[in-house]
Structures are given as structure tokens and as C-alpha cells.
């Protein structure tokens, strides 16, 4: 318990350093653009494949689960849309990104720590925490919501492809279901929690990377820890936000 409190305290102290005024706005801006390209564009391929296939599978499973003729087929489109907007796009995609981006950030900063690159920044008088971590958080806060919206579109598109090419569901029914009882607030709720997840995905791995000590083995351990802790934190925060915003 004491160890956990120690880490939480250290994490917030690090965040205090991260959000100090940058030493040079030009370099900081350049870092943000680089990070946006690396975090955002680098994840698009993976997110596209997962969203398309998940959308298709959710649609097939929902069609298969409808036994009663009393349930209209357009509920398939409705169920796919709701699943993607409320949970699959924001939470599951962020869990996947926590694995991909989180391990990447942790090992990148961890390597910089053990090869003394962070010491080199400190010697130059640069606030290394702010220079290395802050652009990653800013870039994630901008790009991850865009990725989540992209995932929502691809997910329902994957479902539509199933509807258009299967005999058990028509594309018209699916599209009608997609539009049925649409609530804008659900998208706002999804994007709101995505902002929290984006912060978690970048800040927790950065913390683990920044305080890596030792060698290659410890970089691997930091990377694993960062994925585990950020995934757990995402799930807990998801529960709290859902309880607060949807009920």
C-alpha cells in the first residue's frame, strides 16, 4: 500500500514538472507535430483493421442472437452503433492503444534514461520531463479522439458491409437502425472519456519510462508495467465516468 502511494505521489510530482512552461515554444511545437505523426498516423493501420472486423463481427453476432421475429432487424444497426460509440471505439481502442503506444513511449523514454540522454538534457538545463512528456500528452489529447471518431465510422461501416453482402440482413435495415434514436450526447460522452484515456495512455507509460533504472531487462519490465497499469486505470476511470455521466 505504501509503495503504491509512493508511486502515485511520484507520478503527480512528475506531472508537476511536465506542465511547467516549456523552455522553447518553437522546439516544443515541433515535438508536438512529430508526436502527432508518430502516435496518430502510426496507429491508423491497426485501428482500421480492428474496427472494420469488430464492426462486422458485432453485426453478425447480433443478427445471430435475434431469434424472435418480433424484434425488428434494424436493431442490429442500432446495437452496432451503440456498441461502437459507447464502448468499443473509446474504451477498447484505447486499451489497444495503451498496448501499442504505451509500450512504445515507455521503452523510448526508458532507453533515453539508461543511455544518459535524459541526463544530457538535464545538464543542458532543459526540463527533461516537460520536453519529453508534455508533447506526447498534448499530441495524444489531439489525435486519440480523432482516431476514436475514425474507429466509430469504420466499425459501423464494417457492420454495413456485412448487411450489404449477407442474406439475413438488408443494408436498408442496417442504415435505418444506425439512425434510429441517435443521441448526440453519447458521442460527447465517448469523446469526453477518450480525453481521460489519452492522458492515461501517455502519462503512465511516460512515468514508468522516466524512472527506469538498470538496463535492457528493466526497460522491458517498465514497458510491461506501463501497459498493465494504464489498462487497469482506463478500466477504472471508464467505470467511474460511465457511472457519473450516463446514470
Amino acid at each position: 500500500m505504501l509503495k503504491a502511494l509512493h508511486h502515485i505521489g511520484k507520478y503527480f510530482i512528475l506531472l508537476g514538472r511536465v506542465f511547467k512552461k516549456p523552455d522553447n515554444f518553437k522546439l516544443y511545437g515541433r515535438q508536438i507535430i512529430n508526436e502527432m505523426a508518430s502516435l496518430g498516423l502510426g496507429s491508423l493501420g491497426l485501428i482500421s483493421i480492428i474496427s472494420l472486423f469488430m464492426g462486422a463481427v458485432v453485426t453478425i453476432q447480433t443478427v445471430a442472437a435475434i431469434d424472435s421475429p418480433l424484434i425488428p432487424l434494424y436493431t442490429v444497426g442500432y446495437a452496432t452503433r451503440q456498441s461502437f460509440i459507447l464502448e468499443l471505439a473509446p474504451t477498447i481502442m484505447c486499451l489497444i492503444l495503451a498496448g501499442k503506444i504505451g509500450s512504445n513511449i515507455s521503452s523510448e523514454i526508458g532507453t533515453m534514461r539508461i543511455t544518459e540522454q535524459i541526463d544530457a538534457l538535464e545538464i543542458m538545463g532543459v526540463n527533461s520531463a516537460s520536453y519529453l512528456i508534455s508533447p506526447k500528452i498534448t499530441a495524444a489529447l489531439v489525435t486519440i479522439p480523432i482516431i476514436v471518431i475514425y474507429s466509430m465510422f469504420l466499425g459501423v461501416f464494417g457492420g454495413w458491409l456485412v448487411g450489404a453482402y449477407s442474406s439475413s440482413l438488408s443494408a436498408e435495415d442496417y442504415l435505418y437502425g444506425l439512425r434510429w434514436d441517435f443521441k448526440t450526447f453519447h458521442v460527447i460522452y465517448a469523446l469526453f472519456k477518450t480525453l481521460f484515456f489519452a492522458f492515461i495512455i501517455t502519462s503512465i507509460p511516460s512515468y514508468h519510462g522516466y524512472y527506469t533504472r538498470g538496463g535492457a531487462l528493466e526497460i522491458g519490465k517498465s514497458s510491461t508495467k506501463s501497459v498493465v497499469y494504464s489498462s487497469i486505470t482506463i478500466l477504472v476511470v471508464n467505470y467511474i465516468l460511465t457511472q457519473l455521466l450516463l446514470l
Binding site: 523552455d23 518553437k26 540522454q117 541526463d119 544530457a120 538535464e122 545538464i123 543542458m124 538545463g125
Partner: protein, 249 residues
């Protein structure tokens, strides 16, 4: 001049530095020598503020480093250049970007002026046509030279070198030693070099401090070290056959 007064540093129960006091002279190469684990690197990290000391103080030309706040320390650090044991070049940046980094961070020079300074620094360490290469594409000796170029980019008053020729062949090691010596004398820098390479000691040792088990054991120059009969120092200096033969001659 850098003055270290009565520094103590412990990690947990283990005391690494015991009441160390040393003066490092401006315009000279100040060597810190000692066996592995004797506390040389910790001492250097305490001097530059990467480790906080438990007690004692470090002053840079009369400015006490211990009592400074973050922004005051930042000003002193702009005057420090450091060459790390593993070079510590930013591996996501090219050679040119590595040397540009401190200039872009702290000067308001135009791009053309920065490029001119970068090329000057790279020429000074005898590196040409490597601007667009990444550190991983360079040999160990070239990485050290880029490290020196980056360290001198802001015209530092103080230069720290952590085992500058470790992992290099003897010839390249001498090239690096000579570069450090030339730069120190040319720009009148206070240079502190950590080493356990006796070739470097005999080549460049103008003010040598021997650290033994976290204590300052001996201080002198390269001529005096050969006449010294202190047991711990002699065990370190004459550990190799070549040095023993050198003494006999």
C-alpha cells in the same frame, strides 16, 4: 574554477562520497581517477547537480550551486558542456540536429547562424559530411566527437568528460584526449575528466585527483604521480605491466 567543499553522498545505508574537497583549475585538464566503484561518477554527478549532495557545497567561480533555485541552476548549466561515457547523443536526431539542439534551445540566432556554428563545431572535432547521419550510423569515436561538438556548441565555461576514451581503440582514444586538451587550452575552459585509463593520465594529467573508496586520497600532476609511493595510488597506477616497466625506466 570549480570548488567542491566537504561533499558527502550516500545511497541508502551506503556512503559513496566521504567529505570530499577538491579545487578544479580553470584552463587545465583536471582528472579524477580511481578504480571502478570508487565514486568518481557519483562525484561528477554531484558537481553538475544530477545528484543532490547530503552535505557540503559546490561553487562555480564563486557561485554556490547548492543554494540555487531551478532557474539559477539553469543559468549555470547553460555554461556546462558534458561528454558522456556512451556519448548520450539523441538517437532520434541527426548529427546536425544534435549539435543544433542547445543552440536552438537557448539562443536567438537565425537558422543560417546556427548552421554556421554547427559546422564550425563539427569542423573543430574534425568531422565533415556527417551532418545528416544518425548516431547509430557512426563509429564510437565519431559519436564521441559529435558529443564534444555538442558540448562546446554554447561556448561552455566548464566541460565534463565521463571516461571519454572508454570503448575506443588506443589511437582514437589519443585523438579524443588531444581534442579535449586543445579545446580546454584554446577556450580557457575548466575541464574535468573522469578516467581510469593511465595513457590519458600520462598524456593530459595537469591536475589529478585520486579517489579511493569515496575519499579524496591524493592530488597532484602527472610528474608527481610517478614519484608517489602511496600504496593505494601505486596499486592503481601500476596495475598494468606497461606502467610498471615505465616506472623502472
Amino acid at each position: 574554477m570549480i570548488e567542491v567543499k566537504n561533499i558527502n553522498k550516500s545511497f541508502g545505508e551506503k556512503q559513496i562520497l566521504k567529505d570530499v574537497s577538491i579545487s578544479f583549475i580553470r584552463g587545465k585538464i583536471n582528472l579524477i581517477i580511481g578504480a571502478s566503484g570508487s565514486g568518481k561518477s557519483v562525484l561528477t554527478k554531484c558537481i553538475v547537480g544530477l545528484h543532490e549532495v547530503d552535505s557540503g557545497n559546490v561553487s562555480y567561480d564563486g557561485r554556490e550551486f547548492g543554494g540555487m533555485n531551478f532557474s539559477q541552476r539553469k543559468e549555470v548549466r547553460k555554461e556546462i558542456g558534458m561528454l558522456f561515457q556512451g556519448s548520450a547523443l539523441f538517437d532520434s536526431l541527426t548529427v546536425e540536429e544534435n549539435v543544433r539542439f542547445p543552440l536552438e534551445m537557448y539562443t536567438k540566432k537565425s537558422d543560417a547562424e546556427i548552421l554556421e556554428r554547427v559546422n564550425f563545431c563539427l569542423n573543430r572535432v574534425q568531422l565533415d559530411n556527417v551532418n545528416h547521419l544518425y548516431p547509430a550510423e557512426l563509429s564510437g569515436g565519431m559519436q564521441k566527437r559529435v558529443g564534444i561538438a555538442r558540448a562546446i556548441a554554447l561556448n561552455p565555461k566548464y566541460l565534463f568528460c565521463d571516461e571519454p576514451n572508454s570503448g575506443l581503440d588506443p589511437q582514437t582514444g589519443i585523438v579524443i584526449d588531444n581534442l579535449i586538451k586543445e579545446i580546454t587550452h584554446e577556450y580557457n575552459i575548466t575541464t574535468i575528466v573522469i578516467t581510469h585509463d593511465m595513457n590519458s593520465v600520462m598524456e593530459t594529467g595537469e591536475n589529478i585527483t585520486f579517489i579511493y573508496k569515496g575519499e579524496k586520497w591524493w592530488q597532484g600532476n602527472k610528474e608527481e604521480i610517478l614519484k608517489e609511493d602511496n600504496k593505494e595510488l601505486c596499486d592503481f597506477v601500476y596495475a598494468s605491466k606497461i606502467m610498471r616497466k615505465f616506472r623502472e625506466v
